[in-house]
Symmetry: C2
Subunit: 403 residues, 2 copies
Amino acid sequence: MLRTLNRNAKDAALHAMADALVDQADRIVSVNADDVVRARGNGTSEAIIDRLTLTPDRVGAIADALRDVAALPDPVGEVVRGYSVPNGLRIRQVRVPLGVVGMIYEARPNVTVDAAGLCLKSGNAALLRGSSSAAASNAVLTDVMREALVACGLPADAVQLVPGDSHESVKHLMTARGLVDVLIPRGGESLIRSVVENSTVPVIETGVGNCHVYVDRDADLDKAVAIVMNSKAQRVSVCNAAETLLVHAEIADAFLPRLLAALREAGVTIHGDERFALHATSAGIKFAEVTDEDWAAEYYSLDLAAGIVDDIDAAIAHIQRWSSGHTEAIVTDSQSAAQHFIAHIDSAAVMVNASTRFTDGGEFGFGAEIGISTQKLHARGPMGLTELTTTTFIVTGDGHIRT
Amino acid sequence: MLRTLNRNAKDAALHAMADALVDQADRIVSVNADDVVRARGNGTSEAIIDRLTLTPDRVGAIADALRDVAALPDPVGEVVRGYSVPNGLRIRQVRVPLGVVGMIYEARPNVTVDAAGLCLKSGNAALLRGSSSAAASNAVLTDVMREALVACGLPADAVQLVPGDSHESVKHLMTARGLVDVLIPRGGESLIRSVVENSTVPVIETGVGNCHVYVDRDADLDKAVAIVMNSKAQRVSVCNAAETLLVHAEIADAFLPRLLAALREAGVTIHGDERFALHATSAGIKFAEVTDEDWAAEYYSLDLAAGIVDDIDAAIAHIQRWSSGHTEAIVTDSQSAAQHFIAHIDSAAVMVNASTRFTDGGEFGFGAEIGISTQKLHARGPMGLTELTTTTFIVTGDGHIRT
């Protein structure tokens, strides 16, 4: 039974799984090559082909991630609250595994191993449903991990692929209330929306990020340039990249020429409001008039919606209207502006003088991440091992009864 | 804006609401009397009539509950985790309100005030949908509270009744994803199931309790009698009352004559297995043969399903099969038996040598309770103010960017 395994047993299994993946890297890479050929034949984009492709080095990195998980503390058994009440009852709220964690995800086969490792470490069974384009890769990765589990004396079914390629199997997973304790969809917005709308199993929404950077009147302009560039352009295909820039009107003349030169250099297209148009023209950067679709967009590309605001409250109002609740950043040297922004922004993460790209389990020191929750219940922001647990109240008395 | 109110403002409003309820107790009791007359006319049971009825004393008690909430610490702003990471970023995970909390509940008008008070204290707007039988009572209670809020300079809409009496309004509430942050149904099993199945708003399930008491071979029999009696018979209409008793075979002969005499005295009917039948006959207690429906039942009455088990693992297996995951108790003086039971029981609360009736926000020292969660996500067990919050990660840097 997974929930009663001690840490040694779980860590030994994680290391055995890692070793087995490395030992069988050739087999894994060869099976993966078939998936890649099929995907190319289906006209899959090169970006997705890249995410799908496994090499011996990538298999090694996936195995290392399992070893990293083994090195993390065991979340199970942590006493969240512990106290006595006046009648002498001793109450402890203790972390326990959720039970069965279902994952529905796209393309990347490394998620198969990451999710299996995080679930095992937190004492949960993993029920995995990857995309059909990675079906053979996911099957061989799962086989190798299951063999390693059995060799350690653990049940193979601690890690399972949901059988079948059809949408029927996803439907079964979404309606297995009572059998599956939580479903975590990872992927595009339509996948996530479909799971949220059709699942009777509790869902944790992840990942949709329409992140904003607001450059305040009191910003340090050097830092502001660095933070906007990093938030937008360091890696565009991730949920914590910035999609909208808001600039305080009073610093626009001093700030925008420098920023737009850097953005132009990086190949960024501005989707801007009227006041932005003039600056864009002077800077010679690609420019389009901003629409409501732009304000709402998660571009995943070198596009940036941009507006000039008269004050911090206009920036906050814009973010309240358009944000997906992932991450918003303010660049300011004013303590009161930072406090005001924090008080009024209701997102999973608020960055003060830091890039939006820091909203990440690894950057937060969680060691590993099963996704970034953009909902408010259970978990919000990067989810690590702790977020794969629930709690039980253990109440100890000495014949106590209620009067 | 509710989320930025400081504690003083919230506590003042709670006291003003309490004072207003007491001031207008006559008006409230008179409106409530109309609901009671209508309910009687519809043939409503006296038990439900009793829950529906308000008296000046009961209005006073409802007002006092608001004052108790005012005395509790403010959950908003609590730093759940706070640390620096190696690059110098300072990370704080801070409690913030959920936003809008929807409650769907039955009969008791006091829930209208309790929910409003707990939501206000935790910085949330309360969107309340009581039963139609209490519609007039809920309307007058809400009016009084809204007037008090306005007198304190707060928005009346911090507390709102969902308009309309029809099922349409419940449907709107259940599909108001993005507008309502969480729905908490409180009431019978069919209400809760309907909300879980039809809501696209995240739901916290509450309250279905098929609670078990297992009397181990190493139980202190005096304590066991007291705990079984208290768990079953102290108050039968509540979710933390026990519905099933499991007794270790080796102590049945010594224990059951004493227990059954006490249960008979209390008017309890045993729904027992074959081995229980003999003991029941000797004790002269009402007896029926147990069925699967009994093992699954939340009786809310002086009925008790009962079985004799050969060992602790048989008790655990029975509970794993039939429990609703609310509360299970073990009575034992054996440390290893207690540990074994705790390790294998996956419920919101596990009692060791204490009555199941202790699973309660007040008994746990939470000061107030919005319900008892029997699900695993977000909150499990009694839910107080903390469980009406989410968190935001506030990350402070000095121009930090990712490399």
